[in-house]
């Protein structure tokens, strides 16, 4: 309650300002202020921890020195300070400050930021409100920034347009728990948004594997993220700072897909990739040319899958959130799946129900867990059920991490149960291939025959051409033109016949090929329904009938009991 109320108050203040136009600008304004405030909070910690700590920000520009005092500079003076001193200096911050690249972070944030507000008094009001109400120092408020972003997104109402959804914390937590990144492993989120997966991974490694300050240093270097949009990028950097990643310069503002796939060398490969790419989003023209032509598509999520399987080290672990559409999609999606399942062992597929991403979208999603470097053999499916009494998730009833207890217990001790089942993918594919091959062979044979016929036809056509030339050429003019003409005619007839046969063969080949393809590609439909689902429509009729009769007789019993009670009661009062 308090957070959304605070944001609303702040937005109301900004609305009075002539310089701020629309929600997007309001948010842009808010984000750099939050960054400075959080950075300052962190600096207080660093000053204690590190000897000789020197802030990359000049003394007069530090939050504590101009913003923290509620009665500090305001009005024209404040506006002048922000635009002409604060922004100017921080945008061009010199990087030899010796602050371990922290200066780089500050600069990159301010390169993307802009001060929209034109009224110094109102700026002061916003700053004071932030100082009063938002306290990120309490550790239980660390995830507040994610909530804040979600709140902002809702206000913007633009979520979904580019497929950006905030990944629920229960999902990021579950994925990180299962992938279990170790100390020293490089972890990458190529579409990191506000850094939900990265902060989870950070906390996970820190809690379990970090014992010494050397460990801590290793951890600081091992997380990498890339985000295309400036606003989430800014929030991600701030978020990482908040969680104790001191130098979030490994969070780059870039489009991961903009670099040709083949340009990533083996050195660029990482141990762990966890991500929830934007789905349904369409990439700008030209992006798909960075990918091999057989896999070209504009669907962002598919491109990310290709990229991930390319960028994982052999034996590297991956997890990706994808919509149902990927599982049953055909065409290019099938080819991408074929390549993916050949390169990676997709060992687990957790199917999430509708509404996990409410209120942005209701579509069903899946988490794919895989290991690079071996083909897929068996796929375990787990259908995540709604908690008891839920029909869908919503803003007030979101998915919770406790719900994943069942999956976690099942993870290392797998058995088929009401929610999980196993698909022997390798066998299915081999079978399909065996069944499809005869069709393909027939098609190939027919194409070959057609080709032979075409060769012959072309020879004969060349001969016809030759004869025709002869007829016209005065020098080579044959003695008996009529005979030659007859010859041409008969050759022509032969050619027509050949052409017809050829056509027939090609049509037959095409039919066979489609038949073969239909059989083969069918196995790449990974949208496999739970065979153990208690499907109401497939009960045994006899049992159902018996149950129904029982119910009818139960109703009669209850009704009679009620009737009897009521009758007795009425009679007793009439005496």
């Amino acid at each position: 309650m308090s957070l959304s109320a605070t944001i609303k108050t702040i937005q109301d203040i900004m609305r009075k300002d002539a310089g701020v136009d629309g929600d997007a600008q309001r948010i842009g304004q808010l984000v750099w202020m939050l960054f400075l405030k959080i950075f300052d909070d962190r600096e207080q910690e660093w000053e204690v921890m590190e000897e000789h700590y020197r802030s990359p920000i000049p003394e007069r520009l530090r939050w504590r020195n101009w913003a923290a005092d509620a009665a500090g500079i305001t009005g024209e003076k404040l506006l002048d300070f922000v635009t002409n001193d604060l922004f100017k200096t921080l945008k061009e911050l010199s990087l030899n400050g010796g602050a371990n690249g922290r200066g780089y972070v500050v600069r990159s944030v301010f390169e993307d930021a802009y001060n929209y507000m034109k009224n110094g008094t109102l700026i002061r009001q916003v700053i004071n409100k932030l100082n009063e109400d938002v306290d990120f120092n309490r550790s239980d408020d660390r995830h507040l920034l994610g909530d804040l972003y979600e709140q902002i997104l809702r206000d913007l109402q633009s979520a979904g347009n580019a497929g950006e959804y905030y990944t629920p914390r229960a999902v990021t937590q579950f994925v990180v728990d299962m992938v279990d990144p170790q100390l020293g492993e490089t972890v990458l989120d190529p579409a990191c948004g506000t850094g939900g997966f990265l902060t989870c991974a950070f906390e996970h490694i820190k809690k379990r594997y970090v014992h010494t300050s050397e460990d801590e240093e290793i951890l600081q270097r091992s997380l990498h993220g890339v985000e295309k949009k400036p606003l989430p990028h800014l929030l991600c950097v701030t978020n990482m700072l908040l969680h104790g990643l001191d130098v979030p310069s490994q969070i780059r503002h870039d489009n991961t897909l903009a670099r040709p796939l083949r340009d990533y060398s083996p050195q660029d490969r990482v141990d762990v990739i966890i991500t929830n790419p934007p789905f349904g989003g369409i990439e700008e023209d030209g992006i798909e040319t960075n990918f091999p032509s057989t896999f070209r598509t504009k669907e962002t999520a598919d491109l990310f899958l290709l990229l991930i399987s390319h960028r994982l080290k052999p034996g590297g672990r991956g997890a990706i959130v994808l919509p149902d559409g990927f599982l049953f999609g055909e065409g290019v999606k099938n080819r991408i799946k074929e390549k993916f399942l050949e390169e990676c062992n997709l060992h687990t597929l957790v199917r999430l129900p509708n509404g996990v991403f409410s209120p942005y979208t209701g579509i069903k999603t899946n988490i794919l867990f895989f290991i690079k470097g071996e083909p897929t053999k068996e796929i375990w499916y787990y259908e995540h059920p709604y908690p008891l009494g839920y029909k869908s998730y919503s803003k007030t009833k979101p998915i919770r991490i406790e719900e994943f207890q069942a999956e976690k217990a099942w993870w290392n001790n797998r058995e088929e149960n009401a929610y999980s089942w196993k698909v022997d993918f390798q066998k299915l594919r081999d079978d399909a291939k065996t069944r499809a091959t005869p069709h393909w062979q027939v098609a190939e044979e027919a194409e070959k025959q057609a080709d032979t016929l075409a060769q012959e036809r072309k020879q004969r056509e060349a001969q016809i051409e030759e004869l025709r030339k002869n007829l016209q050429d005065s020098l080579l003019r044959p003695k008996d033109p009529a005979k030659v003409r007859a010859q041409i005619d008969s050759q022509q007839k032969h050619c027509d016949k050949l052409r017809a046969e050829e056509q027939q063969l090609l049509t037959a080949a095409k039919t066979e090929r489609t038949a073969g393809d239909a059989i083969y590609w069918a196995v790449y439909n990974l949208d496999i329904k739970n065979p153990h689902a208690l499907d109401a429509d497939h009960g045994e009729p006899e049992e159902l009938l018996a149950a129904y009769r029982q119910l009818l007789s139960d109703i009669a019993t209850t009704r009679d009991a009620l009737k009897h009670e009521l009758m007795t009661a009425l009679e007793s009062t009439r005496k």
Partner: protein, 574 residues
């Protein structure tokens, strides 16, 4: 009507829609008239109870917990000819306890909210006892506002809400709580009588709603002054407890009955789905016969309410498209030769460039078929039987001007029928009329819909309007030779066809949409021409029966509901 007639028809009235609800009202109203438990002459009379209440009130005033209020004038000439049972007295709510209201602490102050003290508002009033509230406030809010912490066992009454048009929510708080301004609270001086007071208000609900509620511009509200002083009959305390116990017992039975009735319709639906599904998946004739036999045996059990007739229609359509509704005639020209003829016609038309080229599809014979067909039927693709095409896109250039023609939209096409009450017009250009004009026998399929059940909605055009074209959201399937759009329509509307459409219509975005390409790939059964006609005639005949049955069942339901209401009414008057 005598109680005997009521009990003779007990089953009819309790099974009526709202039957149990009516029964609950009956029980409550009988209870507060003293007709549910016998009076006991040994009971201490209610007048003594009133004296006890008065003493308790005096005590509270003395202890300073209660301000002294102006005494109410004595009750005179109450009830007219209405004679109270022995030992009962007339009483006003204001005699029995203290009334107070609620408020909302400032929502702008976040320090007021999210504390440990429940704050009850009308939306929490869903049960007879309040154990929790959706919102809660802090100690600070309690101290700084005029909100009062209510003791347990008070009566919370909704005093201002639109719900007062049809019911009066009353509940007892099991926990200490605060309330918002739309609730009225009665804190009885003696908490031992609150259960009966709740019952008393519920038992007199119809009267309270009629006489003590005033309508507002947007919401209704209780006339507090009158409500507090209205005379109600009050039984002796011992009888109160007996009545409460009896009502609880009877209500528990009602709950049980209602739950089972609900379960019944669910089980019934599952049962008919299963039986239809078994018919659909039966591959062997013997297996099919077995399931069919079972369906026939339990016909009355399955289809006994208007809601179940939809399932019956589905069963009929499923039988029809599987060739089980009319006998096959070996003298009919087999469908395979019909298909060959259609194919020849299709090729000729393609050559003449009158229709689009056939799509390369794997042979229908090897595709996965949903069910087995009779001997002389075959499976065929829609693309083999029909010329499928889209329609005209609506653009500003299409605004009617010089050359306007009627066109069909999604709103005109329903499942199996057309609604032509509102027709819009498109401007057409040279040659377009010929290209897009509908012809009798064209099968029209709606391209997309947000709702799962409406996918593949389709109907057949019979030339109702001359020179009519269609919008692009309606896909047109034109018959080639005798391909039979009427039979295909039956298939599309059958459970098999609808399942197929639904499968096809799934898209990556989660919305449902079909396309010309998808429709062309649908596999449909093709019976011989003569048999198609026989099937369609039979289906028409059976559907007419269904309509009749549905209408009669509906009437029966309405009658039973009326009967239940009438019986309850007369029993109360008796």
């Amino acid at each position: 009507m005598t109680p005997a007639t009521f009990f003779d028809n007990f089953a009819v009235s309790t099974d009526a829609p709202n039957g149990v609800q009516k029964l609950r009202e009956l029980i409550l109203q009988l209870a507060v008239q003293g007709k549910l438990v016998p009076q006991d002459p040994e009971d201490v009379p209610a007048s003594t109870l009133l004296e006890k209440v008065q003493r308790e009130k005096e005590r509270l005033i003395k202890e300073g917990q209660l301000g002294r209020s102006k005494p109410l004038p004595p009750l005179k000439n109450v009830g007219g000819s209405h004679v109270l049972p022995k030992g009962w007295v007339w009483v006003r709510l204001a005699d029995l306890g203290e009334f107070c209201g609620g408020a909302t602490p400032s929502t702008a102050k976040s320090e007021y909210w999210g504390g440990k003290i429940p704050w009850v508002s009308p939306k929490d009033m869903k049960s007879d006892h309040i154990t929790n509230a959706e919102l809660s406030i802090t100690e600070k809010a309690l101290n700084e506002t005029r909100l009062r912490l209510l003791p347990a066992n008070s009566l919370l009454i909704v005093g201002r809400s639109g719900i007062l048009r049809r019911m009066l929510p009353v509940a007892i708080n099991d926990i200490e709580c605060t309330v918002n301004q739309d609730l009225k609270v009665l804190i009885p001086y003696l908490s031992s009588i609150s259960e009966y007071l709740r019952l008393m208000l519920k038992g007199h609900e119809p009267m309270v709603l009629q006489d003590l509620v005033k309508g507002g511009v947007t919401v209704q509200s209780l006339k507090y002054e009158e409500f507090e002083r209205y005379p109600f009959p009050l039984p002796p305390e011992a009888e109160q407890h007996r009545t409460v116990a009896k009502v609880d017992q009877l209500m528990a039975l009602c709950d049980d009955l209602e739950a089972k009735q609900q379960q019944r319709s669910g089980t019934q639906e599952r049962l008919s789905n299963t039986l239809i599904d078994k018919l659909l998946t039966a591959r062997e004739p013997a297996e099919f016969d077995e399931h069919w036999q079972r369906l026939c045996e339990h016909f009355g059990l399955l289809y006994d309410t208007p809601d179940t007739i939809g399932k019956l229609r589905q069963a009929i359509l499923q039988l029809a498209v599987q060739g089980k509704l009319v006998p096959q005639d070996p003298k009919d020209e087999p469908a395979s030769s019909l298909l060959t003829k259609i194919k020849t016609a299709r090729e000729r038309l393609t050559k003449e460039e009158k229709i689009t080229k056939a799509k390369a599809l794997p042979p229908a014979a090897i595709a996965q078929n949903p069910f087995n067909l009779p001997e002389n039927w075959v499976w065929a693709y829609i693309d083999e039987l029909f010329d499928v095409s889209g329609g005209i896109q609506k653009t500003p250039a299409r605004a009617p001007k010089d050359n306007a023609f009627p066109y069909l939209r999604v709103a005109n096409v329903y499942r199996g029928r057309l609604d032509l009450s509102e027709i819009k017009y498109f401007e057409l250009f040279e040659g377009e009329l010929e290209r897009w004009r509908l012809e009798p026998g064209d099968l029209l399929v709606v391209e997309g819909n947000g709702s799962e059940t409406e996918i593949g909605r389709c109907a057949v055009w019979n030339g109702e309007i001359p020179n009519c074209v269609h919008q692009n959201h309606i896909i047109r399937c034109r018959q080639i030779g005798h391909s039979g759009s009427l039979f295909t329509l039956l298939f599309f509307n059958s459970p098999s066809g609808m399942a197929e459409m639904k499968n096809l219509a799934i898209t990556t975005s989660g919305l449902y949409s079909l396309s010309v390409g998808k429709i062309r790939e649908i596999l449909v059964p093709l019976p011989p021409v003569n048999e198609q006609a026989r099937i369609i005639a039979k289906v028409d005949q059976l559907m007419a029966f269904c309509d009749d049955l549905e209408a009669k069942l509906k009437q029966a339901q309405i009658d039973s509901e009326k009967l239940a209401a009438a019986m309850v009414q007369s029993l109360l008057a008796a």
